[in-house]
Amino acid sequence: MKTDIILAGVGGQGILSIATVIGAAALQKNYYLKQAEVHGMSQRGGSVQSNLRISDRPIASDLIPLGSADLILSVEPMESLRYLPFLNRDGWLVTNEVPFLNITHYPDMERILSEIKALPHSVTLGADALAETCGSVKVSNMVMLGAAIPFLPFSEPEIEMAVRTIFGSKGEEVIETNLKAIRLGTDQSRSYMNP
């Protein structure tokens, strides 16, 4: 078993929190894990990505080779396309549809979405609105994590346990909000794939 994931987004959108939960889930199952993060300059509102690799056998490289990511999980639509050459031909692209507008010449949204839908395997969802129904747009990253569960080597209870480990110190309310967001994301993703 090996799952290579590219997490994508804009600095400040919380992709590292997604990585932390997946990392904790991997540790619980005694999988090997390597996770290359981006810190520093680009965290100031620039493009950020993280390479996350999970396997039941030792992993060599911290970076994912071209054409071998099983999943691109993005919290922003344009950012999801930035790493396409890394996606395996059979891989999935799962992204939030809501653009993060901090640049002046953001490309045409329809073009972005049609390029995403032209891929063999993709899931798009409006994570921000779903997050708001959980009480805070801030958990849209967790909605996206939920949407990715069908493509991860973890069950929903395993991810839930990881969330409890990671957010344990923040209290039951925070945990529940995050779990709700994750469940909503998973449901959306499943119904998107099997309409």
Binding site: Y32, H39, M41, E79, R82, L84, N102, Y106, P107
Partner: protein, 532 residues
């Protein structure tokens, strides 16, 4: 599999290992990708319980000297910095190799090939060789952890400082690491031969001979190091030298990490020449994979005869600049790449930008507007979030070179007759390397205006404590800035007009003036509120 393991960044692994190896003090100035080493120690309960020194230093040079002082009294110390920090600390560092150490001293330098967050991609292994000390370069997080113990042992065995070189991917990648048991700290003890710390020529000459004599020992240590390995392979058409993390990129290209070629893995320097010679005797061609400059590749000439075809960064097999990747390693091995999705043409670059609500925005709005009226003026700048003032809509600054250079370059330009010369500098950068330049200006009454963007933190690197906090006015006045020409403004839109007028007046003043634009970084303020 990973049972007892903790997920640690390469930086975290180094920090955890140092604590576990009996660290008594860590000294550092922040700098990507090294910052998390100090931050890990600052958060560690063990470090708190032992009261390990873990406060930021004013700059990298003071950090090295403080660590050397701690080592002098027999304790284990660590200094951390990014690669360019070592330029600042070079004097202390090179001379520490001359004096040697008492308690173990590890200097951790994190290089940034591809310049993700840096002004250049210099390779610190050259500094290690220049100072003639052992250098460690881990290939994975567990090795980084284990190495720290070896590095302390070697440092104390030969009484020399040792370097540990990380690169961005090693520093900022997480993996499972298992810990050893926590060791006691060294007890306090003074050096047996204290004169070696007094580098008068008579002692320095002796110390240099001593350092030269140690070189053979260091080579011996590299040869015997368990971190360096010669692994034979059935396919003798090629032999590979892979350093540090490049070893992983090599193995990634083979099913089950089974490389068919003979490989010399290097993770400790001086270069283990004998291992390379042994491999060379069995192969015709050699490929060198290393992150950074062609450090080993250039040395091969003196290690093996020049009839070997050597490929790497020098002959164009690998790019001369930028970091390596599994794909670049694969290409160098002549492997065919998979068919991949083409690069999307619907993406545009998304460069970093100042955060919404950042005080630097208000500062640059003033500067840009005032400078429109002074077309022959020049605004130099420095390194920090405020360097983003170089980008539109501000395009307000003409330089970003090295920490502190805004003030001194403005002085040089003023010396050259530029009527209005200014330097924009952050608070942390000011105490790192700006104060001495300001003193030069004051001594010569140079007509310059120093604009300090004071957000009470080193924001660019994630909001570490700034040594300038609460002291800027006192420092400026103490250095000799006239009270009438020290303005402290609040970086808020509602004061825009007022701030502009004050700034303009000081820019036109024919002497040294300092204008402080002050407002806390909004990210740090938000974090403070979150923590309550």
């Amino acid at each position: 599999m990973q049972n007892d393991k903790k997920l640690l960044l390469g930086d975290d692994a180094v920090a955890q290992a140092a604590i576990d190896a009996g660290l008594s003090g860590i000294y550092a100035y922040p700098g990507t990708p090294s910052t998390e080493i100090m931050e890990f120690v600052q958060k560690s309960p063990d470090a708190r319980r032992r009261n390990i020194h873990r406060q930021w230093s004013a700059n990298e040079k003071t950090a090295v000297e403080e660590a050397l002082g701690l080592s002098y009294v027999g304790k284990r110390s660590m200094v951390c910095m990014k690669h360019v920090g070592l330029n600042v600390a070079a004097d202390a560092f090179i001379n520490a190799a001359m004096t040697g150490v008492n308690g173990g001293l590890i200097l951790v330098v994190a290089d940034d090939p591809s310049m993700h967050s840096s002004q250049n991609e210099q390779d610190s292994r050259f500094y290690g060789k220049f100072a003639m000390i052992p250098v460690f370069e881990p290939s994975c997080q567990q090795e980084a952890y284990d190495m720290v113990f070896e590095a302390y042992a070697l440092s104390e065995k030969y009484a020399v400082p040792v370097m540990m070189r990380l690169t961005t991917r090693m520093a900022h990648s997480r993996s499972g690491v298992s810990r050893r048991t926590l060791q006691d700290e060294n007890s306090r003890s003074l050096p047996e031969n204290p004169s070696r710390f007094i580098l008068l020529p008579v002692n320095a000459r002796r110390q240099y001979k001593n350092l030269l004599a140690l070189q053979a020992r260091f080579s011996e240590a590299s040869l015997r190091s368990t971190f360096n390995q010669y692994m034979d392979g059935p396919d003798k058409s090629l032999g590979i030298v892979a350093c540090g993390i490049a070893y992983n990129y090599l193995l990634e290209n083979f099913e089950n990490q089974n490389c068919p070629y003979p490989v010399v893995k290097i993770a400790q320097y001086p270069v283990p020449s004998e291992l390379i010679q042994n491999m060379a005797a069995t192969v015709k061609k050699i490929l060198v994979l290393e992150e950074g400059y062609p450090f080993v590749e250039e040395q091969l000439n003196g290690i093996i005869s020049n009839h070997y075809a050597v490929s790497g960064r020098l002959d164009g097999t690998l790019p001369r600049d930028g970091e390596l990747s599994p794909d670049l390693a694969g290409k160098a091995l002549g492997l065919t790449s998979r068919s991949v999705f083409p690069v999307s043409d619907s993406t545009v670059p998304r460069p970093p930008a100042l955060c919404r609500g950042c005080g630097h925005i208000d500062m640059f709005s003033c500067i840009s507007e005032v400078m429109k009226e002074i077309p022959d003026g020049l605004v130099f700048s420095d390194i920090g979030c405020y360097t983003l003032g170089a980008l539109p809509p501000f395009s307000a600054i003409v330089s970003c070179v090295d920490m502190g250079a805004s003030i001194t370059m403005a002085k040089g330009a003023s010396d050259g007759g530029v009527p209005v010369a200014a330097g924009v500098i952050g608070d942390s950068t000011f105490t790192h390397s700006g104060m001495t330049g300001l003193l030069d200006c004051i001594l010569e009454k140079t007509p310059v205006t120093i604009i300090i963007g004071d957000n009470s933190t080193a924001a660019m690197t994630g909001g570490q404590d700034s040594s300038a906090y609460g002291r800027i006015e006192k420092i400026c006045l103490g250095l000799g800035v006239e009270e009438d020409h020290l303005q402290v403004l609040t970086s808020l839109k509602k004061y825009h007009q007022e701030n502009m007028e004050k700034l303009k007046k000081e820019l036109l003043y024919q002497g040294v003036s300092v204008v402080v634009f002050r407002r806390e970084c909004v990210q740090v303020a938000a974090r403070r509120v979150r923590k309550g």
